[in-house]
Symmetry: D2
Subunit: 344 residues, 4 copies
């Protein structure tokens, strides 16, 4: 296979580091450059450990959202903070390059929803139509011809994947969905803030950003798509004392009585042939440790007959299937490659 010259913009955060690990072992995406702001001039070895020697010696160049950058590669992964990706996307798309944006900038297709959740007008609304939301299990066909991929967040992936089949099948009351989601601390990024110190996170846990976390917009957009009607949910994110990992526990009222076996069967029909979705056998529930350092998501369904609710559970690595590796999976599709390349 011919290699694809690949660039990473933004590399000092946990997403960027994880992405570099996945790209280092990808047989087709060949890292041509890494651009960043705060770490420009450093070698990759100074910010990421365990890279092959040639990559370790690569020097990070100064990131600039311009024509010159666009000439240096064919495929661009943007791992910059939310709100910083748009100028790069504009410049790179003008130059005709393929872009996988790991930030939240292009995840909501409706500029009004973007404004509702981010409190300012979208900086490049014309490109929103072009962006494809990067969950391959949901948007595989559109991803195959995508030029701009909005790689989803970890909370959204952990909620959308288990819920979508049940919304599509019309099993549940759309206004009854409640998700309680727990994230390892790396989900908050590699920010130098007091609340992220070991002394504050270890032996601790808490809910935050209620009732309207910023990623709720993209979650409800995708759930509404699956349901074919507007879906609004209650979503509570939590931080728990571990570095990587995410667990979502989702409940929803059933429209009619269902059995465990039916729910399991529906998950199997939706995802039984998916390489990265592990539909757990009846009796088993997802565990964060089982999917760490992987692109897999574990899902399980149970019925609570006492309250006539569906219980859904999912587990993923918030830096893997919830972030960097799913971005690679989507890029594989967009580049016409075998979807699993570099991910096993």
């Amino acid at each position: 296979m011919q290699s694809v010259r690949t660039a990473v913009v933004g590399a000092s955060g946990y997403s960027g580091q994880e992405l570099l690990h996945y790209l280092a072992r990808h047989p087709v995406f060949k890292l041509a450059l890494v651009a960043a702001k705060s770490t420009a001039g450093q070698k990759l070895a100074q910010i990421v450990h365990g890279l092959p020697k040639d990559l370790a010696a690569m020097e990070i160049i100064e990131a600039a959202a311009d024509y010159s950058l666009a000439q240096k590669a064919e495929l661009f992964f943007l791992a910059v903070p939310h709100g910083m990706a748009a100028p790069y996307v504009v410049a790179l798309r003008e130059a005709g390059k393929m872009v996988v944006d790991l930030s939240a900038d292009f995840r909501t297709t409706d500029p009004a929803v973007y404004k509702e959740f981010y409190d300012h007008d979208h900086p490049a609304p014309a490109l929103l139509k072009e962006a494809v939301y990067g969950i391959p299990e949901i948007h595989r066909d559109r991803l195959k011809s995508a030029k701009l991929i909005a790689a989803p967040g970890c909370f959204p992936t952990s909620i959308i994947v288990p819920l979508a089949p049940f919304l599509r099948a019309g099993w549940i009351e759309p206004d009854s969905i409640v998700s309680s989601s727990m994230s390892g601390a790396s989900g908050a990024g590699r920010k130098v803030e007091l609340r992220l110190l070991f002394g504050e996170v270890s032996d601790n846990m808490y809910a935050y950003s209620v009732p309207k976390h910023r990623h709720l917009g993209e979650i409800e957009q995708e759930l509404s798509l699956a349901a074919g009607q507007k879906v609004t949910i209650t979503f509570t994110p939590h931080i728990v004392p571990m570095h990587r990992g995410m667990l979502s526990t989702i409940t929803a009222r059933l429209k009619q009585t269902r059995a465990d076996a039916e729910a399991h069967q529906l998950l199997l029909e939706a995802y039984g042939s998916e390489p990265f979705v592990e539909v757990l056998p009846p009796g088993e529930l997802p565990q964060a440790r089982h999917v760490a350092h992987s692109n897999r998501i574990q899902v399980a369904a149970r019925i609570d007959p006492r309250t006539n609710r569906l219980l859904l559970f999912s587990s993923l690595d918030n830096l893997g299937k919830g972030n960097a590796s799913q971005a690679v999976q989507a890029a594989n599709l967009a580049c016409g490659l075998e979807e699993k390349l570099g991910l096993e």
Copy 2:
């Protein structure tokens, strides 16, 4: 004050150890004996660290549910495994002694509910009527004359305390309650089981015992009492990688539109003068670290106007307010003592 000769039965688990720490600094409850099965013959120093030297040197006697045991103290704390407490309670109550049972044996007042959740007939149903459920903030008056206190579990305390005021006030739809609760691993006890090894719990989290955890019976009993009608909830317990700590995130549909300030006010009215309930100021949410090694419970309420739901949050130490220290608080009341004795 005159001291009260106090006994602890069962001392090798995390609850028993924690109880010994609280009793060691209690000014009235004087530890007269510790009885246990597996650790009989050992000194307390071998199972608990940091006790004063006189207690550390005390020898654990062989536990037997008989008349002889009952003669040795006035107040008995039972920290034996679920299902093992009943014979002790029978023997001790026959001898007229005051009993605080930390097991689940006497928490459900209805023998049918006990059978539903524990799969066998209650071994001493006659005593169920006498038992008082040991949350002082809910049953203070009855506890003042209690002779048999059923100390509640950690999950129940974390759910009942924040919900009770809203059920009493009729704010929420009783069939809409969903609780997602996270427990430190000590909540599973000090059992020598593979699933509790450091290598299985660290960097891991998972839901378990769905949809019908054994403590759901006592939770629904107390919520129904508060609501004045039958309440059935969906409850998902989780294990997270920390030793002590518990967080509950509870959602319920509001009967009518409410504001954050109203919800906060209702919590303040219920608990503003409680010494061990910390109603957090608007904008703050409970954190597990803030209540570790204490008898305090943090509670907070928020309204989700998008879905018209009430969100409740609570945090406690599953070995403290969720277990040993709350048992001491209840015993203080039952002995006519200042409720805070030995707990600050």
Copy 3:
């Protein structure tokens, strides 16, 4: 007992927070004020959790090293960063107040040693003679009349306490001492630095500041005092993934063959009657968990007959006996109080 008006200067770090917890339950030291720089104007409740309500409501005043501060209390604990304490000490000692300095500023009695380890002249060398190094088990008599207490660091306490008896008894070659010491991350302070993020500390450990950690000066000063001759050691500090705790493993060559029982006996003679030193029975070794949240230090000695070395082990809470609680213990002595007051 008459209460002592007590002030804490510096309160936003882990030491200051811990100190406030110990002072909150001290029966004689009554907190009269808390002064700080970055948190001035806040209530104590905003920086420390679990304080009694009256303390929680106390407002932090602006810290200034002047006469006005000195008038507000009789006893001052300084929990400011290293290098910042000297001006306060000068002002407070001029006003005749008793000072317990938790920083390193007055720990080395020789200004030349201070300069060697801190790279600048000591700002108040005249006061160095007055300062008493605050390990009660080593300097109890001098502490009884101390007006300026240099509270020692956690590494020094964990090394000096186990070694001193063996140096005094002349058992070991003074140039053969090697200490490998592991600290929980709170030992690095509550600094907002990348290296202290949960994502960098969890699942990690490393040595640092070799071969000449700043606290080596005070360690060698105290070891030399015990030995009656100059002692120079090799000391390697490590950070391990826990919040509080410290373990030191110390080896030294024996001058002559010794048995385990002799080494244990020497520790017993030195510390058998000390309330806060736990000389472990033969066969047991110190554990960090056993002394967490306490003023205790565990010590144990073993002989390695194969290499004719003495092995010493110690464990303490780096925020407790290694810091805040030991400062209270020393202050008790200096104020003529029962040494254990507020510490059990």
Copy 4:
């Protein structure tokens, strides 16, 4: 390349699980069977997560040290508990098969040393001569023709690799070596024991097995080989609260004054071209997190001019370079394959 039929005996421990992960991605070693005692009859998916679907479905067969087992593969990895490997080795070597034994059974070449450290006669002393100690950086040439590889332990690897060059070069006093080594809890195995519960290991650390840990025999054997004379060391192992990771801090007296640059240079000469040894640049020290989930070992050297000691530091993954992946590296050599196969 032609594939090699490969078997794993023993698979329920952490070593066995890790080994299966490395073998699953090895391009030449093809897993033909997994045999075990306690998990026989289960599918691999029940004991290891994240394997490819074909391997996940493989059924574990009953392990028996007999001729029949030997016929099923060409290359056998033994991941059974210490003391259990010998019968398998005898049967497999009689059948002419290549064996990589991850237990300690064949690591000491001298039966007398085996008896000293394991308290019983070696069960197959005739095979000790044949066994090659499996650190490729030390015994590469012998490993190329090895039929029986004694894969070393994690503590030994972390000590032997950094020390060997300095012993060979005659820099240090052989009787002055002290190693303080910290291991993640997985180093103690996946044993269902009280001391390994999360509640006992988290927020804890301690030394153990002093002064004569069982792996001291193999450590001193290899250090003596490097030194060309008998070397006896003081070694203190510790458990720290993390799952995987190992750090060794080693000190030794220098025979003459040396500079940091010389020590660094000696490490570079020894390991500069090694693919899995990372000689850290001056000023950097090994970190456990940097080598997790890899076959790499980080090493660094520093001089302590105040005490004329050499300080050596190493970091490895106790399940990786300290165990499973190093076993694969050695097997690659013995099979005439590229040494890095399946390890990057």
